[in-house]
Symmetry: C2
Subunit: 438 residues, 2 copies
């Protein structure tokens, strides 16, 4: 039969993993989920497709260009580009059925038709937690967030990472005291300090039309050095009477104090006055997280406080604070940096049961069933093939143990357990085999 063969391939910008990497990826995803759940966050799972009207309610720039939008019948719909807009819609829609403060986590795929380039993905997982208040939300929750970031990255096996904390009110108040109106543009420039350096930021600020003296003040402000305590003192010493500024310092101080109470070691967090989070969305505390030895990866977990989550969908005032991990990109970056090596297997199976021939199938099945009841992932290789080929299957998949079943094993009601690392093989009871494997 001659057929047209379609070349099998995925679209550019869409990550797809082979078994070994997929198992690793899932392990990371599960760890994030478990950590989020341990803090009492409630799961949510919203449709990937929403009305375009919902997703584009805020509108603006990049979003409209990047969104996957289409019609079916009369309906104008699109794929979600983040998990925040669906959260806003969800909270507005189900408001009477939710209990506040509403703590939710969401791990799911989002879509952005970005320019295709290395390390950039058009489909990627975001792992978000948010705490949403009804009308108000205590600033202590802002301090809980770094402790969640800390627990997450510790559970992922990291030790050397820093949650950088700032407060947009400090920035906004400072700018107001300098009579700067184009705050968003200035924030965007400041955000790039790590990337484009002093001179780059200076050039950008000048382009905004700011006088030299103002640019000087901004640069010396965002470069205040010292311990967190010293930074707070230096901020206060600026003696700026702007209300927003004072409020920001107070919040920042409260957050920093509480982060310590939450048990986050001092080496894992710090005030960084250059963190602005370009988005005009944030209104108070902001966070970015960096791996100390891999700054080039950029922030691995970011977020902040916002005054009003769902203003486009409800008149309810819903302040909140949250973070997001871009898991697909993080996985890619960690893999590139060689941080995911190790002995990850290509399957979850711990024991491959190998019947020597067809007559051994029944006893082999029984053995696999017993192992499975003991919580040991196991499978039987039923394919007719030489034992060597079946052992090769175990080798290729990094299955640590093989149980061989022949006439002798059946007669004696025992099993031959082969350790695939050492090659050692012994004839033992099933109970003994279970003990060894466990």
């Amino acid at each position: 039969m001659s057929k047209n063969i379609v070349k099998p391939s995925t679209l550019p910008g869409f990550m797809e993993l082979l078994p070994k990497d997929q198992i690793l990826f899932n392990k990371i995803k599960d760890t994030i989920r478990k950590t989020y759940e341990s803090f009492g966050f409630i799961p949510i799972d919203t449709p990937l497709i929403e009305r375009s009207e919902i997703l584009l309610a805020k509108g603006g720039g990049e979003t409209e260009k990047q969104i996957y939008r289409f019609t079916k019948g009369d309906t104008d719909m699109a794929l979600r580009f983040d998990l925040t807009v669906p959260l806003a819609r969800y909270v507005a829609q189900h408001f009477p059925n939710l209990t506040f403060p509403y703590r939710r986590y969401h791990i799911g795929k989002v879509y952005r038709g970005e320019k295709s380039q290395r390390g950039r993905f058009r489909e990627f997982y975001q792992c978000d937690v948010d705490i949403i208040g009804n009308g108000k939300l205590s600033v202590v929750y802002d301090a809980e967030i770094p402790s969640i970031i800390y627990a997450t990255f510790r559970n992922l096996g990291f030790e050397d990472f820093t949650v950088k904390i700032n407060n947009r009110k400090v920035l906004n108040g400072f700018f107001a005291s300098l009579n700067i109106s184009s705050t968003v543009d200035v924030l965007r420039s400041i955000d790039k300090l790590e990337k484009i350096g002093d001179s780059g930021v200076r050039a950008e600020l000048k382009e905004l039309g700011l006088p030299e003296s103002t640019v000087d003040k901004i640069l010396s402000f965002i470069k205040i050095q010292g311990s967190d305590g010293e930074k707070l003192e230096a901020l206060k010493a600026l003696d700026i009477t702007n209300e927003i500024f004072r409020e920001g310092i107070e919040e920042l101080e409260t957050v920093i104090d509480y982060v310590k109470s939450f048990g986050v070691p001092e080496k894992n967090y710090m005030i960084d006055l250059t963190i602005a989070r370009g988005l005009d969305y944030y209104t108070g505390t902001v966070y970015e997280t960096f791996l100390d030895d891999y700054p080039e990866i950029g922030s691995v977990c970011s977020g902040g406080r916002y005054d009003n989550l769902a203003e486009f969908y409800t008149t309810q005032k819903l302040p909140g604070v949250g973070i997001s991990i871009g898991l697909t990109r993080l996985f890619y970056q960690l893999n590139e940096a060689g941080l995911l090596e190790g002995d990850a297997p290509s399957t979850l199976t711990k024991v491959l049961v190998v019947p020597m021939d067809e007559t051994c199938n029944e006893y082999s099945i029984k053995v696999a069933n017993i192992l499975r009841e003991e919580g040991i992932v196991s499978e039987v290789h039923f394919e007719e093939a030489k034992v060597g080929k079946k052992l090769n299957y175990a080798n290729k998949l990094d299955i640590p143990y093989v149980i061989l079943i022949g006439e002798d094993e059946i007669r004696r009601q025992m099993v031959s357990l082969k350790d695939m690392k050492t090659g050692d093989q012994e004839l033992i009871t099933i109970e003994e085999a279970i003990k060894t494997v466990k």
Copy 2:
């Protein structure tokens, strides 16, 4: 500020759950995943978007009408409508990097723009396992599948369900012996026996132009009664010499024999000669699973054996066998049938820690951290509010325990543990509280 409020709503046909149901849904999804994994199936996670050319390679009828298809730039793409086509593409594409027999599970969302109606969803989860052979695949794997279905539904808490098993070769061979050429149409009609009854099937078969005597033979064939052994004997007694027919009986007999070896109780499986699985896709063993007391729900898990998984993407011959659970629909149906009631909570939190006032925050955080280290999901209610309101939060979310922290508790380094069901409250050490909660 006056703003245009967009009414928050989801598209029709898209399921979205509130916390209680979402937690239940995830529990079911996790149980399916854990069961699939216990049999050594390897996870896969393919893009939701594929080239239309890939998804529509097979083409045909409903698929093309229902698919969500769109273009971005020059690319003609679409959302996957099942997990089988992506699997076929994956195996063809990554063939050299996979080890066969390749056992994979996939739990993910798929999209079909069906007519919107109650209980029908346009976005739904499928939970699939497949075992793919390279060139050949032992029929014993066909017998493993019912044991996986059995383990899955037992783990989900069901006891009274039946995996109905048939073999397409038996049907095809039988039809060939009757000189019926329009096998697919006949199979489609037979598949409807439960729905449209004897007379309905008879009418449909006549419409296909089959003579009365042939229709009689078909109806008496698909209504062969008795135990599995008796059915097999009755089939053999038909004395049909057609090769395919004999092969089918042999396979069916082997599968039925082995299903017993796999430890599936006799009450949970049976031969049903009316099971055809309309799709022309299946070539051997076929399965459908019914809840004995809820036949109206229809099949809750179906699948079968196919000769060639990826014929549109590779010249490799890849036979396989697999099943699928349509989880979203199943969840909806179980919910409608009242089978999901019980004491499902609205959060995963086991302990809410309530500081009496701000001065108690630090100790409260410490207590929550200790609980969390013990694996107890806990959160602190930081919002400034009366204790009654905080207890109400716990009540609304069905949190089983509240720990109250006031001056007294801090001074004595103890906690007041309140059982929210009984209302009992006692001042005890953290260790004692951990014991009680666990």
